[in-house]
Subunit: 202 residues, 2 copies
DNA sequence: ATCATGTTTGGCAGTCGCTGCCAAATAGTC
DNA sequence: GACTATTTGGCAGCGACTGCCAAACATGAT
């Protein structure tokens, strides 16, 4: 039965895999198009499935959730974040490490326009925002051990402090991206991030 | 039926209003009981309505959302937060003002046990967390003008900085309350808050 | 007490996201 | 071509939530 554990190294892409990928991309494109055209809440799964040429059932098999249709690589975000931070040199402080992680995640976007589009949808749709914040909270929790080790835990409550530091970094990222969106993508997000950090820790 | 001996909020209430209030309280109590007994996600609206002796339709008329059954006075939180902060003296800095607001909100809980119960549910239920974060984001946005005026806007992007500062305060509150919950309510949340702030801004 | 008034209530049907189940279509293998 | 392993689609159903309509009800006027 269990025949998987396949190393995706080579390219023995079976026809199945290719079809899968194609369908997946078709669904994703359709979803993003409809979302930006008529809004997230106004777009139903039925409509996406219909226009993408698959059944609802199949759509849900590819993407377990309506939110997943937008945040496609959200899980990848978390992974890159963790990887980047753990790769930082041991001498790097928490703030430095977190900054590197944030920068790495921002660099993941395909293009400036795509990033702007996604951020805009995210910041303007309550239901999406909620889901995103939730997922992000999980990232924060995963980051906890990585950051704790970098903190000079003079006194107790190391956990609380690490959590606070991590959440602060995300808070600055939020403020920065919001401002960036309301400026229609003018300037660099990381510059805004640094400004926010300065305002908080200055 | 039960004759509740509650703090008599004597007023020229009509029988209607009293009945309404009673039903409302009955629903709220039932919901909280079931939530803590069997979990939030595992409790259905149908069950709450049945055990509270009202129809689903009526339940939804009192509380528009399942989440509202827990966060009863969430809107009040936002109000107290705003009021407290705007009452701070003009010389008070942003951090001082925000601290006062946080303290005021925490003081709203009826009892330590109730606060612990709610926080525990909140932190352990993904769906609840998401909704709560969303609502809080709206609070933050409301706070924006109040905080902006207290910031020495030397350079531009006052909005971004104010947002970052506000979000940082909430981040510390989060870290503090999480730690408080995992310590089973030992100690003072505000002490943890101060510790988190020190870790962030120190 | 009775009637008219405006409000509250409950039931029913329906939407939307999402899941389990099962039979039919399809890719890969012999 | 036959056989096996997946993938797919359709259907029924759950749970939160809404609109609609008729019955139940408190209240004020008669």
């Amino acid at each position: 039965m269990k025949q998987e554990a396949k190393s995706a190294t080579s390219a023995p892409t079976t026809l199945w895999d290719r079809t899968r990928q194609l369908a997946s991309q078709e669904i994703l494109d359709t979803a993003l198009r409809l979302f930006t055209q008529q809004g997230y809440d106004e777009t139903t799964i039925a409509q996406i499935a219909r226009e993408a040429g698959v059944s609802q059932r199949t759509l849900f098999r590819y993407f377990g959730t309506k939110e997943d249709l937008l945040g496609g690589g959200q899980d990848r975000f978390g992974q890159v974040l963790m990887d980047t931070i753990s790769e930082q040199s041991a001498e790097a402080g928490v703030w430095e490490a977190l900054r590197a992680g944030v920068a790495a995640v921002l660099a993941l976007h395909d293009s400036r326009e795509q990033a702007l589009e996604r951020f805009r949808l995210l910041h303007n749709t309550a239901s999406l925002r909620a889901g995103w914040l939730e997922k992000r909270l999980r990232f924060q929790e995963n980051l906890l051990p990585l950051i704790e080790t970098r903190m000079d835990a003079a006194t107790g409550n190391k956990g609380a402090k690490a959590r606070a530091v991590i959440a602060t970094a995300f808070a600055c990222l939020d403020a920065a991206s919001m401002t960036w969106v309301s400026n229609d993508g003018k300037g660099e997000i990381m510059d805004l991030y640094d400004e926010c950090m300065a305002a908080v820790r200055g």
